[in-house]
Symmetry: C5
């Protein structure tokens, strides 16, 4: 959980790191150079005057607004739903540990509960690795019993099998008469919620916004921007490169942000800080088990983790 201090509005105008500018700068420079050339040649291409006015751009702008507005909202919804799912993971992890510690009236076995908590933490890390397509072996080996960690190696849907193991844990407790059916079902309903979270993340990860949207959006934005100097040069003359770069900046930056947050489980600057959330889950459960945790906050707020 990365905490970013809010900047003063004035400083924010000149920030470099954390902004989307570095990434899109080459495109903006190309746009600026084209505009300058258009100004120098008075909008002529091989002595043919390109007869454009601002009017058609207002009409194109309409379609662009619908596309950009929609893709932006849809991407942000994906981003925010992904964040909610991972927030739900933290919530459920805590609820599950609280439940195994306090439901029923049997004496509680601290070591057994720690195993249960470790399974939940392992579930979080396994989910993170599945979504980022990285190797979970180290994290799983640290948290799980060797034989179970070993058996996960050839498994495709690892978090799901860990979830099944959580079910086995309550089954063992039920068999040993440490809980009755009512308590078992109450805990199981929180396992269902973990299943919801897993399936929700897989859905966002596997189903992008329909591909055709992105293609049409890209084409519209770039055609619009590279035609724009021809449309403005007759009315605003040598200001064309500045204004075109500025308009280009807003559209291309929005497009770049949309592309980043559309897949919120990546490791780009504006993606979700999954590592930080996994550590928060681990810390929070550690505290609930009565152990000390490290209280100092994360260092660099711009490092997505």
């Amino acid at each position: 959980m990365v905490i970013r201090k809010r900047l003063h509005w004035f400083r924010m105008l000149f920030i470099w790191e954390g902004s989307i500018l570095p990434q899109i700068l080459p495109r903006l420079i190309a746009l600026f150079l084209l505009s300058t050339a258009v100004v120098i040649f008075h909008g002529e291409l091989f002595r043919f005057k390109i007869p454009l006015t601002p009017a058609p751009f207002t009409l194109i702008g309409l379609a662009l607004a619908i596309f950009l507005g929609f893709c932006n909202t849809a991407s942000y919804d994906r981003y925010w739903e992904a964040r909610k799912l991972w927030g739900g993971l933290l919530i459920d992890a805590r609820s599950l540990v609280r439940q195994v510690q306090t439901l029923g009236d049997a004496e509680k076995d601290h070591k057994d509960i720690r195993e249960f908590a470790n399974l939940i933490v392992a579930f979080s890390y396994a989910l993170k690795h599945q979504l980022r397509q990285t190797d979970p072996t180290a994290d799983l080996a640290r948290l799980l019993k060797p034989e179970f960690a070993k058996s996960l190696e050839n498994i495709k849907f690892k978090p799901n099998i860990i979830l099944q193991e959580l079910g086995q844990w309550i089954y063992r407790n039920k068999k040993e008469n440490k809980m009755d059916s009512i308590v078992q079902v109450a805990i199981d309903s929180n396992l269902n919620r973990l299943s919801d979270i897993l399936g929700g993340c897989e859905r966002i990860s596997n189903t992008p916004i329909p591909y055709a949207y992105s293609v049409v959006l890209h084409r519209t934005i770039y055609t619009y921007c590279f035609l724009l100097p021809f449309g403005l040069v007759d009315s605003i003359g040598w200001m064309t490169p500045c204004i075109v770069s500025f308009i280009g900046y807003t559209f291309i930056a929005l497009d770049a942000i949309v592309t980043e947050i559309e897949e919120p489980f990546g490791v780009e600057k504006n993606d979700l800080a999954l590592n930080a959330i996994c550590r928060t889950i681990e810390d929070s459960l550690t505290e609930m088990m009565g152990d000390k945790i490290d209280l100092k906050p994360a260092s660099n707020p711009f490092i997505i983790d």
Copy 2:
């Protein structure tokens, strides 16, 4: 679950397969030819000058924006709700198998549970076939007991009867004292969720966006596009065909995408990959039953399945 690698923005400008362009190309060519004719005849039709300016198009554009924006959002909501329902099917399938494997304290009968899992997989395939109006016989024969598969032949709402059979399965287990009422009700509440998914898919499939919207939207878009050259020819001259085709491309492409995703259960390029989801459900339950599955990913990401 189809995973598409994200393309570089520049390559995306020139992609052919996977874009909506091939489908709408004839209309765009017609639009281009009309615009060229308008340029050649200076906007005259049988020597009558059509006296149009860009101004009315701004006014029409307003209505168009409301229609297109609305239809686009409504279609995407249907698409995404459909995807959520099928994601929920995967979630519930796993939860149900976990529940029959771990709830209660009775010894678990592996073969009996496999029958239960097969019923769930059959439910998925039957739902897919119902939504696509294809023949489910082969899939059902593979997964169900012969007599039950046979009895489904004259059934209209097949997934619903399979769901009833899942209920019969827990009824038998309860009668054999393998679970108590509490466990039975907990499993039954996940059957209710399968019922929700079934009903939700039927609702999306059977109730399109009110027909009048599509009619008015189509008429507005095509009238707009085919009047546009007359409005632009006086101000932008020989650029008219390019600009009109470009504006036409954005509107007609958006309209085509909206038409495709409005019915998300079809087999067009931007529809949902129901086959892939059915296979994922089958694979996931197979793993939970302790069996091996094929780990290699799907081959061609553009084949909707």
Copy 3:
């Protein structure tokens, strides 16, 4: 559940039945005649020139866009929520019958369950009749026991009393020891959902979009349309009647659609097919009782039922 085959985009341009055009044609003709008169008199009214330009229409258009966009979204949300509630009715009807057939471990009395299923079907028909303010007597007489159907005659909230009778059914079963408290409560929670559906439909039916919106929207649309020819005649001359009729068509059509779907329980062309849904519920429960149903689909997809 009415299934409409998707039309080719080109055929859709010239469709008559199923479109909103027949209904608004008189208004469009009036608009066309007015525009023609304006062209003939060069925008003068009793020799006074009306000095309008397109500029004010852009400003009015802004308010119009907010109003129309909002009323459209709000109406469609009502329509879609109503559809979801009726979809939920189908879902719950099936879930309830499945529950009384498979929960607990008592022997099931087929005839008693059929009575329960009939009560649910009667609930659907009674709700439909209440929402459409039609007479439910025939449907209720067909489905309910004579004395109970008789007792409903002087009842204002009929579906609610049928719901109470469903509760009495499980009360009788509990008293006869055919189910325990756990099963009874599980079934009762689906009766709560029927209560939600009933209340949701009543809410949509009894609380329209605040009246003031419709009044202002109507006034804005018609004033806008009937002033428009004066604003366009100076720039587009004899094209004014065509363009004004076209713009008028888009706005007035949208307004007419909004008015229709705002009250989704009516019997107009774009309203919900409540009869078809009631029949689907009846068919689906009949199948679950093990009886045959008629498999042929509904005939005319444009008849709202």
Copy 4:
């Protein structure tokens, strides 16, 4: 529950009662007079020509659209959520009475259940009075036992204490062995929903849309409207007063509607008909208790009650 018959579109143009017009007429007259003065003095103020054109108004219009669109949506969401909460109150009231009548297998005490139903009705009235800050004494005296009604006098959160009394009712029944824990908890979960409704209404009532929005919106609308004649007088001359009043009408009317429905629990024309809903709850529960109710509908549909 007020039922308004839908008016013909033409009659709606000239309606007076039920529209927002009477309320904003003085402001529109002021706007009309100002515009007339501007026309007479040719846009000069003390011989200084105010050099405005329509262009800046398009730019301001953008901000105005964002503000108005947002405030309108946010207000309507509050209104509709409030309506849903009160609809939920009717739903829950019925569900609770059905539950105490039919859950468990004990003999039902009609008089005791009537007391329970009266508590629910009293909850509705107490909530209405709390939201409208009116005196609930008469309604509570009519419905509650004298000593309990008396004890509520010095209570700040009256509906909450009535809810607690509903809890005490099921506690007494449980103690007298008329229900088991399972039934008690099932009824209690509907009491939780009443608590949700109470808290939801308090939230809407106590937290308006952030104040700064309303201030900026008001300032933008009125500055816009009173500058508008100076911008239009040069292009549309003596039509200025008509057009300015018309544009002013749309914006000021929308603003007035937004202000009314933002606080949906008031007694203005477009607010919620809380009295009618309370009566519906009372009628519906009376019917469920087997008593007769008055079947004739409410008289004047424009009286918010």
Copy 5:
């Protein structure tokens, strides 16, 4: 819960306190001075004429509308979700106390229940202090047992550990046979809801709107505003400073509001009144315990608390 009386529309135009104006005044004055200079120098900068027209601003306005509209909606959604979570805290607090007072059939220990209620109130205060990063020691010392308050000092996630203690309370009651499993689980499900509220608040607090949005939005707004006088000076002359300040006011004010409510847990004027909500929770539970509370309302409605 702060109740603000609605102001007359006319008074609202001239309000100072409670508006966003004081905060953004310096920026508006800078904008006014720049515009005045532009008018004086006829849009020349060091004798170079800046050749701008209103046309490019319409194009930029499009991107601005998408950005501002989106950021505004996203911020308000965060604000309103935060408010719902805190409203849910009040709801759950009451439900939990009602449940421990009325579920089951054991005799109720008033002192024990007061301890439970105090834990809930402490949870509220601890959450408030965590979100505002203030010191909770005083509030916790007042409400909790000394040894437990002491043990919380080195805890990072204090509300979560208080929630665990609430779980321990029901565990102790279960062990002492004051409740059965069913009642325990019913209360526990409301503890799960407290966990949801805690996690939801942490999510909003720790995950701002992706940083890149704010940066691009700020840059677009300020570049737009400071270029605007050059674009308007040729058409509206000496009115430029007034109009530019007015347009700048709307955009900068909206941006300032968005920045404030994006982080709804702060102590700025438009943030949530967390202190007031905490007091309401405490008052409401006090009343439920049968004690008197102070009935007079909060004094200054503009003091966010």
